[in-house]
Symmetry: C2
Subunit: 201 residues, 2 copies
DNA sequence: GATCATACGTACCGATCGGTAACATAGTCA
DNA sequence: TGACTATGTTACCGATCGGTACGTATGATC
């Protein structure tokens, strides 16, 4: 019979226990689908199969759990956003359009709920909310990233093109939940191509 | 001394009394600034200087009050949106750009809160909510209106151009609250012009 | 001045909100 | 085995949620 080794390797500084991870995943799903304000902590712990004290030992408050959810969301976003780099190395335009194509598809599915980060900013107008801070920091990062991609494309005015593409992105997030399957998000790719074409020197 | 005539003219079927109107106005301001879910009915009636029963005598529920708020919001929107018609009769492009210019200005002010209708859809993902229904109906109307304006402009593909402009609009609503004064909304006019130019035959 | 409808306020409802104190249990290492 | 730590559980807190039963003030009409 083999020796039972500990589940967490020796130099693991921050291995989250089971309950905290279940809470995290459940909160992520519920917060995204229903909205943060709409979901109570009671429902989170019930659906996660744990109880409230388990939540509050791992997260300081519901607001902090929401912020954590958005940090996870951001990680997942970058993974999708950067997926095109492998397929199109050195081609910023193709990388960006790969993300746009995927987004246009997702945003025209029934039940699409937009960007969790943008939604959080809508739900929490006050600047002091931790979730809002995560979201705003992320969006600034995204904007800077778009600018550098537009520079790589050789845009006449990278900032203006990046702004335009960001407006299209955010517009797609919103329109995806406003309109159903035949929403304006279906034109995202065509419009983005037009805009990029018109912006190159 | 003149005969004191009744305040409401004879064939007035539904003249709202004073308290209901105060509630309406207070709700409109608070719902827009703070969000619908964030504001309780208690706070509305307190700030309006009335009491809860007064609210529930004029509105069936908080949800219905929220829907009423959005109906008012929609009226105000069309007033602004159609303001350009007087200045630029028969010139759909100039009418639209007039709205875009005003929006770009508002969306780059500190404390901008985006579109109340879009925000409501973010706050209430469930299709059955009365506020959401108002918002979605409005957005469909807006989309149709944009299509007809793009036809009037002589666009190659009016639907695609209208979609693109709608994405820019919604993106501006969102970006206005995400970024501060130097947000991407500042480029809205330039981008829209580029997109329209590229879409005419 | 009595009547009566309308409009408004006082006081309260049960439910749920986010959050916690106190205790029980399980795994780790001496 | 025994002490320590980490995690889970029961039961509860005050505050606030949306909503209402019921009594009161007001103002026009006869």
């Amino acid at each position: 019979m083999p020796i039972k080794r500990p589940e967490t390797p020796v130099p693991s500084d921050d291995a989250k226990p089971k309950a905290a991870e279940r809470i995290r995943r459940t909160a992520r799903e519920l917060f995204y689908r229903e909205g943060i304000r709409a979901i109570g902590v009671e429902e989170i712990v019930t659906r996660a199969g744990v109880t409230k004290p388990s939540l509050y030992r791992s997260y300081a408050s519901k607001d902090e759990l929401a912020a954590e959810y958005l940090r996870d969301y951001e990680l997942a976003f970058w993974k999708v956003f950067e997926a095109g780099e492998a397929d199109h190395p050195g081609d910023a335009r193709a990388q960006l359009m790969a993300y746009f194509e995927g987004l246009a598809h997702r945003a025209t599915q029934a039940g699409y709920r937009g960007c969790g980060l943008t939604n959080a900013v809508v739900e929490y107008p006050g600047d002091e909310h931790p979730a809002r801070k995560v979201a705003q920091t992320h969006k600034r990062k995204l904007r800077a990233r778009l600018v550098s991609m537009c520079e790589a494309m050789g845009a006449r005015s990278p900032e203006v093109l990046a702004d335009g593409l960001l407006l299209l992105l955010e517009g797609t997030y919103a329109s995806g939940q406003l309109f159903g399957r035949q929403g304006p998000a279906r034109s995202l790719v065509a419009v983005a191509e037009q805009l990029i074409d018109a912006s190159l020197r």
